[in-house]
Symmetry: C2
Subunit: 173 residues, 2 copies
Amino acid sequence: MGKHVECPKDVVFRPIGIIHSALKKKEETPIQPVYARGIKGSVEIFDEYTDGLHDLEGFSHIYLLYHFHKAGDVRLVVRPFVDDMPRGVFATRAPCRPNPIGVSLVRLNQIRGDILDIEDIDVLDGTPLLDIKPYISRFDSRDSVRCGWQENVDEETAKLRGRRNFLEEISKT
Amino acid sequence: MGKHVECPKDVVFRPIGIIHSALKKKEETPIQPVYARGIKGSVEIFDEYTDGLHDLEGFSHIYLLYHFHKAGDVRLVVRPFVDDMPRGVFATRAPCRPNPIGVSLVRLNQIRGDILDIEDIDVLDGTPLLDIKPYISRFDSRDSVRCGWQENVDEETAKLRGRRNFLEEISKT
């Protein structure tokens, strides 16, 4: 292993809810919330956790942390959706990560008891939810950043391929 | 439980590395990277995962996802560090969450083999790392957001208490 003295233990997480969406197929699921604008969905929180939802409705945007339960085998080198070059998986947002944890920054429209109505959702229907965190501007935005290989992908290409209707669009031309 | 048909299974994650920092005590650990400016640290990636680091160095900022291994008992209602009112835990970034997963957006200075030199680190020394994702501006920033109760905490208070030297500062006055 590495130079660490103690090898850390495995960690067990228990889903706190389920994400529901109209996205039923991996292949048709947008790769990021920015390419899923207007797609609505909901999050069902299991009863034992609903007390943790107080005060959340004041936030317009929330992070959903979830298990990429359909990610398949781990690959350390992947071809990203928006590019054709192989990249290290940690330099991408691909699901086939050693620990398949997804993070999506979505719009929170309202909370009805144990149901969160959300929008801009890029998550497959039935995905197990692990955590919710509020998006807080002063914590979560950065200026003057460098974005590596992503800077060489132009916005139009990213949008077209990020929506995952790339092949469909191509077939129409 | 809830209205879901199938109860999702527990998820087991295996740490991919260890976060090293000068922060040895929970009580002295800043609550967010924005309150940890200039604090340097490193991330050690276990040998079997280093192939996933290719192309990461082009990114100036990365998300570290990690296990809050010292979080203690779960509390669904907490008093946030920067405020005195009890809040639902999902409307805060407190560690005592049902699934104690931390997310920190840190500066990546360089990569030396299996070691990432990082800065603006608000993570306790020895914390098990679960995942790394690149910060990509077009995916990860949002304008026109509402930030709930956080909007009522003024910047100076947040900074003072967020650095966790609140009591120390008070004792000097």
